[in-house]
């Protein structure tokens, strides 16, 4: 990082309160609409998923996209990096990727006659970890440690990662051959998990007619700069939460902890993630406070990968659980 950018960081820490953002709301609205429009142009017919991905970024969370190959996972993540004006690296995970392939390695430089650390692909603001569940647990954990600490340690020296730092990981459904499923502890570090799904016939027709979307991605101009992104993230923090809503969130959490169909309940980190995501969702809908609809909209993406049915020993069948949770827990006490 340059000294310049650290300075912006300090100056921004005071701008996270709404008072410090005069007219921030108006700008926020414009920015959000522009971002959504640009992304929807790339990814056709996936408005909901685009919104969730944006909410995840605004809530400072890492994103896990799970779907079959060829559904536009890479496209979405690349487009996100482009429109947000962030540096972008892609790591393709395979079963023989080693931690040093991700983090970087110290090599001997013959010119300067000294050891030099060569930064790996992890040193970017948006890292696409493609097919993360094809890597061995050892390499997975190298990435996941970076996600939590936002720094990497190599040869006993800690190096900070760029700021902001987002990991967008994609994974193939764990039922496919040659996958190492992510353990619960690491799944928990992703704020959201979304699925893209097949496009609508109309959207698919448009896709077929208009050709390769990757060219469009290359042409995408950054819509907001780093400061504006931080402003949006600050605006998420400033979204207000009322007592009845916290009660609702607590009832949801309590239900997962008491119900017999859940193998285990949501952790406090899961509860925080739910509220944080709901706030970001409220921001995307230009509200200053969270309403239960926001919680319900983000809930499947936030909790599905954190829950497991007690009868389901093999996979992650959290989808039905999220629906049960929404249906069973009363919004109003």
């Amino acid at each position: 990082m340059t000294p310049n950018s650290t300075q912006t960081l300090t100056s921004l820490s005071s701008t996270t309160t709404p008072e410090a953002l005069p007219g921030g709301k108006v700008h926020a609205r414009e920015h959000i609409e522009a971002l959504e429009a640009a992304l929807n142009r790339v990814l056709l017919g996936k408005e909901q998923q685009v919104k969730l991905a944006l909410a995840c970024i605004f809530a400072r969370g890492h994103l896990l996209i799970e779907d079959l190959p060829g559904m536009g996972k890479t496209l979405l993540s690349h487009a996100l990096a482009q429109v947000l004006g962030l540096s972008y690296n892609r790591i393709q995970f395979t079963s023989d990727v080693l931690p040093s392939d991700i983090i970087g390695a110290t090599i001997f430089d013959r010119d300067s006659n000294a050891f030099r650390f060569v930064e790996g692909p992890l040193f970017a603001q948006v890292v696409l970890a493609d097919e993360i569940n094809r890597a061995t647990p050892k390499s997975q954990s190298a990435l996941l440690e970076a996600m939590e600490e936002r720094q990497v340690t190599s040869d006993g020296e800690s190096r900070p990662l760029p700021e902001p730092f987002f990991v967008i990981a994609t994974q193939n459904p764990s039922t496919q051959a040659g996958t190492f499923p992510l353990p619960e502890s690491q799944l928990d570090r992703f704020l959201m998990r979304i699925e893209l799904g097949y496009p609508e016939p109309a959207a698919e027709r448009e896709l077929l007619l208009s050709g390769d979307r990757r060219e469009i991605v290359a042409e995408l101009e950054p819509i907001i700069d780093l400061d504006q992104l931080r402003g949006l993230q600050g605006a998420v923090e400033a979204i207000k939460v009322s007592e009845p809503l916290v009660d609702y969130v607590q009832r949801l959490i309590a239900f997962t902890r008491q119900g017999n169909e859940f193998a285990f309940g949501l952790s406090p980190r899961g509860a925080l993630a739910l509220l944080q995501s709901a706030k970001a969702w409220a921001l995307l809908h230009h509200r200053t406070h969270v309403v239960p609809e926001d919680v319900q909209a983000v809930l499947p993406s936030v909790v599905e990968h954190r829950l497991r049915e007690s009868a389901d020993f093999a996979g992650h069948g959290g989808g039905a659980l999220a629906q049960r949770l929404l249906g069973s827990v009363d919004v109003v006490s």
Partner: protein, 672 residues
């Protein structure tokens, strides 16, 4: 492993959860524990083996027992019980068999059905323990045991993945607690039916008083501090020295042993209005029929009998705490005239032994010339010569034991003195007999009742005098006056006192703080007897009469219905109150009220439905534009900065009510 394959094809769902298996085994231990003293000791060993076997099965080391092994075990058990030396198929034998079968069930406990059987048997064993003992301590213990057994049942219904034994215990405790009101109602109202069959008597020998006394054999009179009975006086209690609790009358003597004579016909019941001392006795189980009362019972419950020698008996052995009310007349004259049969009986000496005492008695009677004079002379001899009162007298020979005591050893306790005097009187053909019972007792300061323990057991002499009837004389008073005036403790020598157990001396007031605590426990036990154990059919009849006026089956049924319903409602109300929704937000309260009203109107809110979505749905039905209402409601509920003052709340309530009326109107209109 053969043991783990399931022959009957029962799936995972039918197996016993691990959590519950542990609790089941714990509950077995808990319910067997209080019965251990009553069953054959080897059964505990059988249980341990079965428990070990089941544990090994659980760990996958061993298999379940084969059919022939189980058959062998059952046959071996029956033979074992038969050889355990029970005289008849007594309560102990039956309990032993039950515990044994219960233990063996462990080895073949395979699926849920078996486990439930073990649980139900555990409840049965809890009930069995009350056949032996009904004290408050046992009741408290069995209540805890019931919690453990219920926890095992709770564990049976939990998922394999949620192993929470402590949580099961709490759930079980909650269930038992919720059952208490109904239990109380049933306890008060459920008819106490006379048993259709009776249990064989426990064959254990009771301590303390027995129907045969051989003073010469006793080298060390054990001073049991076990409770004999408690008594509550209606008015002012008599002096300590007048508390002679008459129980048994020993009219036969042979080979150094005093025994009760053949029973005579009961005396006719007294009809005239009783005057005298009224009191109520709570007799601890004695496994015998005799009862204790002060001289002379004139009024008592009709089911009790007063025999010709004025001892009171119960028609059946006292197996649990027995409560009876007596009025005694201290001035009553027992046997104005003595029938020839009675005279023969009370002067009978079966053998011509103890020549020195006979000689002494003849000489004394001739010298003094009267019965009173002879007794006084004997008293004087005891007082003036070196006779002493001791609990550890020398052992005497069977033949001529009284001679040996009276002239040689001169050391003994009440039975020695009373026996010597009775023998001396009978040898000169004066009707006399030895009476056994209790003397004295301690008053508990907490409740004011009298506590009589086994160490208060005493024996004295009754002599028939013309015009005065049977008259009480106590030669022990001559050797140890303190024993009669102030209780046993005062009469004990230091040597005797040192031999007492700590508890016994504490009971006698030597323990300071411990004495106080023991008295407190005693008062608790007394209240337990008074209100719970003593609540028998007769007491229940009184309560029912007071409550219902006339006791008919229909009225009892109605009372039980009402009481049971009320107790269940009480529990339900308590649960509902604890689970009441906690609404801190005033607008949420307003909205909840609206939702309830709409639900009554047939349009309930789905549980996952948000207020906004609900209002919109309703507005759509009523073909109204409720966008404004929706936004305002949402803001009031979920925007912390919105002003939710009284006016805003009233406004929103008005709007909601309007929506409700519109809907009622519309649906009514559509229907017509």
């Amino acid at each position: 492993m053969a043991s783990l394959t399931d022959k009957q094809g029962t799936g995972v769902a039918y197996q016993i959860p691990r959590n519950s298996l542990a609790l089941l085994m714990v509950s077995q231990v808990v319910v067997i524990l209080p019965l251990i003293v009553h069953i054959s000791p080897w059964i505990v060993g059988v249980w341990a083996i079965c428990g070990y076997w089941r544990t090994q099965v659980y760990r996958g080391r061993w298999g379940y027992a084969a059919g022939w092994v189980k058959t062998l075990m059952v046959i071996g058990s029956i033979v074992g019980i038969a050889l355990s030396g029970y005289k008849s198929f007594s309560l102990e034998a039956a309990t032993s068999l039950l515990v044994l079968a219960f233990s063996l069930k462990l080895v073949e406990m395979k699926n849920r059905r078996d486990a439930y059987l073990v649980i139900y048997l555990s409840y049965f064993l809890i009930a069995t323990a009350f056949l032996f003992d009904q004290t408050i301590a046992v009741a408290a213990y069995e209540l805890l045991a019931a919690v453990v057994v219920t926890a095992a049942m709770v564990g049976m219904n939990q998922l394999q993945t949620r192993v929470r034994p402590v949580a099961s215990l709490w759930v079980a405790a909650g269930l038992i607690f919720q059952a208490l009101p109904l239990t109380l109602v049933l306890f008060l109202l459920f008819p106490r039916v006379a048993p259709l069959w009776s249990i064989p008597l426990p064959s254990s020998v009771s301590t303390g008083i027995s129907d045969r006394l051989t003073p010469g054999d006793v080298a060390n009179l054990s001073q049991s501090d076990e409770l004999a009975f408690r008594a509550v006086f209606d008015g002012e209690p008599p002096q300590q020295r007048d508390l002679y609790w008459r129980g048994l009358v020993y009219s036969e003597f042979a080979f150094g042993t005093w025994a009760i004579a053949e029973p005579l016909d009961p005396l006719p019941e007294q009809v005239d209005a009783p005057v005298g001392l009224s009191y109520e006795v709570f007799l601890e189980p004695t496994q015998s029929k005799w009862l204790f009362a002060l001289d002379t019972p004139v009024s008592y419950a009709a089911r009790l009998d007063l025999l010709a020698d004025y001892r009171m008996v119960s028609p059946e052995p006292v197996l649990s705490v027995m409560r009876y009310r007596v009025t005694s007349d201290t001035g009553y004259l027992m046997d104005h005239e003595l029938s020839p049969a009675m005279l023969a009986r009370e002067t009978q000496l079966w053998r011509d032994d103890n020549p020195r005492l006979r000689e002494y008695a003849r000489d004394l009677y001739a010298r003094t010339g009267s019965v009173e004079g002879m007794i006084e002379a004997m008293h004087r001899r005891i007082r003036e010569q070196d006779y002493s009162y001791t609990l550890s007298p020398p052992v005497l020979e069977r033949v001529n034991s009284i001679d040996q005591f009276w002239f040689d050893t001169r050391r003994g306790f009440c039975t020695h003195y009373a026996g010597a005097m009775t023998y001396a009187l009978r040898s000169v053909d004066i009707p006399a007999r030895m009476v056994g019972g209790y003397q004295g007792g301690e008053f508990n300061p907490a409740t004011g009742h009298l506590v009589v323990r086994q160490y208060d057991a005493h024996a004295w002499v009754e002599v028939w005098l013309p015009e005065r009837g049977w008259t009480r004389y106590d030669p022990t008073a001559a050797v140890a006056p303190a024993r009669i005036d102030r209780g046993l403790n005062a009469a004990l020598s230091n040597e005797d006192r040192a031999a007492l157990s700590f508890l016994a001396s504490a009971r006698m007031g030597e323990g300071g703080l411990v004495t106080g605590m023991l008295q407190f426990v005693d008062s608790l036990e007394h209240r337990w007897n008074l209100w719970v154990v003593g609540y028998d059919a007769a007491a229940q009849a009184d309560v029912l009469k007071g409550m219902l006026g006339k006791v008919t089956p229909a009225r009892i049924g109605i009372a039980m219905g009402i009481g049971g319903g009320a107790s269940l409602l009480l529990v339900a109300a308590a649960i509902l109150y604890r689970r009441r929704p906690q609404q801190r937000h005033p607008v949420e309260r307003v909205f909840s009220g609206f939702c309830r009203a709409m639900a009554r109107q047939g349009l309930p809110r789905q549980s996952g439905e948000t207020p906004g979505a609900y209002v919109q749905r309703l507005a759509g039905r009523a073909q109204l534009d409720a966008e404004g209402l929706r936004t305002r409601l949402q803001a009031l509920l979920y925007d912390p900065e919105a002003t939710a003052d009284r006016a805003a709340r009233r406004q929103i309530r008005r709007e909601l009510r309007k929506l409700r009326f519109m809907l009622a109107f519309r649906t009514a209109g559509n229907a017509s």
